[in-house]
């Protein structure tokens, strides 16, 4: 199972507490994880990726194994620790303020 950590506002929107665990088939990539997430929680559609282009929203980041993978190709394979569930895939809101 894939573990996903959502920012607080998306946990509220999806009505979930803590981590989300997902069964994701095929290659484990940012796009496949977010697609599985959107299938399970349709209210998140459009809140992480643009509806039309499927591009990550600009003020969100993807973290995996202490690396920012936001600018990697969205269909690039994620580390094995994400695929095995040893580490969570993190969707993070950009810091506000200054």
């Amino acid at each position: 199972m894939i573990r996903v950590i959502l920012p607080q506002h998306l946990r509220t929107l999806a009505n979930v507490a803590g981590e989300v665990t997902l069964a994701v088939s095929g290659a484990i990539t940012p796009n496949s994880i977010v697609s599985a997430l959107e299938t399970r929680y349709p209210m998140l559609r459009g809140a992480i990726r643009d509806y039309g282009t499927l591009k990550r929203r600009p003020l969100l980041r993807y973290f995996a194994c202490e690396e920012d993978v936001s600018h990697d190709a969205p269909d690039a394979l994620l580390p094995k620790a994400i695929a095995s569930g040893a580490e969570p895939f993190m969707i993070v809101g950009a810091i506000a303020g200054g």
């Binding site: 920012p7 506002h9 998306l10 929107l13 209210m43 559609r45 459009g46 809140a47 992480i48 509806y51 039309g52 929203r57 003020l59 969100l60 809101g93 950009a94």
Partner: protein
């Protein structure tokens, strides 16, 4: 006994204020959707417990929420706003062509007769309609045929912010866009005509050009749908021919810049504005928060100050942040960027704050309940 429900959208959530018909004591519920911007909430005239809310954030985009129990519980519905066809471009601030891009919903206008039909005014300016309770949205693209490629955003964005439905003619819709103007449809939103004759905007190269006027808000009394009142980026205007022509009625106002305008529930010639100092100083003149009322449909205005701060007040009242109830003694309400929501239970003669310390108020809508 009648009661009122005030739907307040703020920069950090929604609040619902309720009272009985006396409007002396209030229950405050919220924040709903805490931390999100709530541009607008509005209830269905056909089913007051059906409420739609526009929830948005720079991080997570646009969400539409729907309640079927008067705002006690909510469910997210459809948030896919896709322009019909190839929308092309509009003018950008630097004069270049800029692709049409959906940013957010500024205003939701439920149908007068069907709780499942609701219109959404969006930025970049377009009108969408849902006929399934907000689950799906379709653009009415004929609007952009009205010189849409030449529309240009004002500093606040190119939003479609006003949607008026004619209660006597279900085919007639008026909409207003910053900074494009006013448009009217007589066929349910399929085709449109520009309705800006008589407007004069000094900031435009041609001050009387058909499009480019920064209309801030228009209002209508349901008993006189051919009479419209407008707060423009400078000037108060009125039309008595359904927008075919406009006349200036700023009269003796201390300044005719401002954002909201509204009409008394029982007196079609009694209108309200909240003047602010100028286009570059968005606060009341002299630090005195004054609502101005005209009982003559414009030109002759009186300051309403009783209960409002008359020194050191530098808040603004945004375009969707004024509303009226329809109780026998008409209630008038407005919210400020300082987080106050004021209520008058006597047509504006005196005011009291319902709440003082909300986040900046973006919108105020009032439901009068049986």
């Amino acid at each position: 006994m009648s009661s009122v429900r005030v739907l307040v959208g703020t920069r950090k959530g929604a609040f619902i204020l309720t009272s009985d018909g006396k409007r002396q004591t209030w229950d405050v519920a919220g924040p709903h959707f805490g931390g999100w911007e709530l541009y607008h909430l509005k209830g269905s005239p056909a089913d007051p417990n059906r409420i739609y809310a526009s929830q948005s954030s720079s991080w997570f985009g646009q969400i539409i929420q729907r309640s079927n129990d008067g705002g006690k519980t909510w469910e997210p519905v459809g948030n896919k706003f896709t322009y019909e066809g190839t929308p092309g471009t509009h003018q950008w601030y630097d004069g270049t062509a800029h692709p049409w891009e959906f940013k957010r919903v500024w205003h939701l206008e439920p149908s007068l007769t069907d709780p499942d039909t609701v219109y959404a005014g969006v930025e970049d300016a377009a009108l969408f309609r849902s006929t399934d309770g907000g689950q799906s949205w379709q653009e009415l693209p004929g609007l952009r045929d009205q010189q849409g490629s030449s529309w240009m955003p004002g500093a606040g964005g190119m939003g479609l912010h006003t949607i008026l439905l004619d209660p006597t003619n279900p085919q007639r819709i008026f909409i207003a866009i910053s900074a494009a103007g006013v448009f009217r449809s007589d066929d349910g939103g399929q085709s449109w005509k520009i309705a800006t004759k008589g407007l004069h905007s000094q900031f435009m190269p041609d001050p009387t050009a058909p499009v480019g006027h920064c209309v801030h808000r228009i209002a209508m009394h349901p008993s006189r749908p051919n009479t419209l009142f407008m707060q423009k980026h400078w000037h108060i205007m009125r039309s008595d021919d359904a927008g075919d022509s406009w006349q200036k009625v700023s009269g003796n106002l201390p300044t005719d810049f401002g954002f909201p305008i509204d009409v008394h529930a029982h007196e079609p010639e009694t209108i309200y504005v909240v003047p602010i100092k100028s286009d570059s100083e968005h606060y009341p003149p002299e630090g005195k928060l004054r609502v101005y009322r005209s009982r003559t449909g414009g030109n002759e205005w009186e300051a309403l100050t009783n209960g409002l701060p008359q020194e050191n007040c530098y808040v603004n009242v945004l375009r969707d942040a004024m509303s009226v109830d329809s109780l026998d003694e008409c209630g008038v309400y407005f919210g400020t960027t300082g987080g106050q929501v004021y209520c008058s239970t006597n047509s504006g003669d005196s005011w009291k704050p319902i709440v003082r310390d909300l986040p900046a108020v973006v919108s105020v809508e009032v439901q009068t309940l049986p």
